[in-house]
Symmetry: C2
Subunit: 231 residues, 2 copies
DNA sequence: CGATGTGTTGATGTGCGTCAATAGAAGTGG
DNA sequence: CCACTTCTATTGACGCACATCAACACATCG
């Protein structure tokens, strides 16, 4: 456990404001995990003994259907924590977690977390704010999945990945398209088709994993009153 | 504000364990609202000044699409609270709320809630547990919406509305079917058709707003490997 | 008893998934 | 460095689950 990792964890929204001593106590038994390639961190239903901070790489949280189909619930990038809330869910992970390529993760035992949480009243408030935010995002997802078309969800994704107000912007997709597609509740083929449609309309240009939004206002408009993969 | 209402609120999971004094303080400025018929309590984006306890009747939380279509996020029955988490979301309601018929609601100012929350450390933990539970349910919804068919969602609803283990059970639908349908992310017509299909298979019988599950095991099996509205 | 609202059932349309073929991109090994 | 495999992404053809549109049955209520 290097000092820079310790400092990085301290920058997570949840732990910002912790004193150096509290931080050290939180990470007393934490360990750094260097994961190569794709590896499952935990499965749904597993007994939760730790939660994670992403130092580098990426992680996907997902569910599996009875048939084995996968739905990505969330994609986690460096700087974020995940599975903290599990402490309050009877101690079992509600989702699967797996890395997306080489990653460096900090694994923090739930016990240390609970101890820090109880000692620091302010952190409970931050925790509540953090979980409430996730709740809000999930409500957005549910709305999008039921009230929006595939095209609208993809457009919404592009818009939320780029800064507001600016007429044009660039997005770099760090994870594979099928993962993003699953995150959006769409098949990879459909995702590809939507991008193609937007490309033909001159709203975006695509080069490998980089998407350039050429006309943000146009994309917003398209999202509102078209959102269809049809001509 | 009657004493029985006060006691009722104290039975909500979130407030179980509060002392009588704390409870009185929490409800110091609370007021009882008798709502006739269908009435909007608050709109998405409204500044949140209170959260609610359902004493009788029912409430639906929902979102609206740009086109005006509605998606019911949650149906709340007597004994439950809603919109508590809003305190931590910048003070704006993330959903619409409206009553489903005559209801008696207790409206509790957020200020009183925050004060009680800060004075009672244990309640923060209960709050975390409560929100985490909602989080978990929403994850289930997202999974169901993306990985299950309409039939599977309906069957899942019937199964979770009835006690486990018992071979047969009765469900009384207190709210209109189109509301339940929207909650399940399904059109009312489809909901009706699924029930018809299950009726023909002899798995359930329907009489008005009462559904009798005749063969729970059969329903579970149907959910797993059929789940289709087709013959 | 007409009026209005809720649920059911039938006919038709369509958005998106499925299946399949191909094109690139990226990694592997001689 | 170039053949070879392997994997991701794209594009086309087709099918299906569910929505949509519409007609009707059946309540409840003034």
């Amino acid at each position: 456990m290097q000092e820079q990792d310790l400092a990085a964890v301290g920058k997570a929204p949840l732990f910002a404001g912790l004193s150096w001593e509290e931080l050290q106590q939180l990470l007393a038994h934490a360990r750094v995990r260097h994961v190569k390639g794709h590896e499952t961190l935990f499965a749904e239903g597993d007994k939760a003994q730790a939660f994670y901070f992403v130092a580098s790489g990426a992680v996907r949280l997902y569910r599996l259907s009875a048939k084995g189909d996968e739905k990505v619930i969330e994609i986690l990038l460096p700087g974020s924590t995940f599975a903290e809330a599990v402490v309050f869910l009877g101690g079992h992970y509600p989702v699967y977690a797996a890395t997306l390529g080489d990653s460096r993760l900090i694994e923090i035992p739930t016990q240390d977390f609970v101890r820090t949480l109880k000692a620091n009243g302010e952190m409970a408030m931050k925790m509540l704010a953090s979980i409430s935010m996730r709740l809000h995002h999930l409500i957005n997802d549910v709305q999008a999945l039921t009230l929006e078309t595939a095209g609208q969800r993809v457009a919404g994704y592009l818009l939320e990945q780029s800064p507001e107000g600016v007429p044009s912007a660039d997005i770099h997709m760090v994870v594979h398209k099928n993962v993003i597609a699953s995150r959006l509740g769409v098949k990879a083929e459909t995702f590809s088709r939507v991008l193609a449609a937007l490309r033909e309309l001159g709203l975006i240009t695509v080069a490998g994993n980089d998407i350039h939004i050429a006309d943000r206002a146009g994309l917003e408009k398209w999202r509102e009153d078209v959102g269809s993969t049809r001509p």
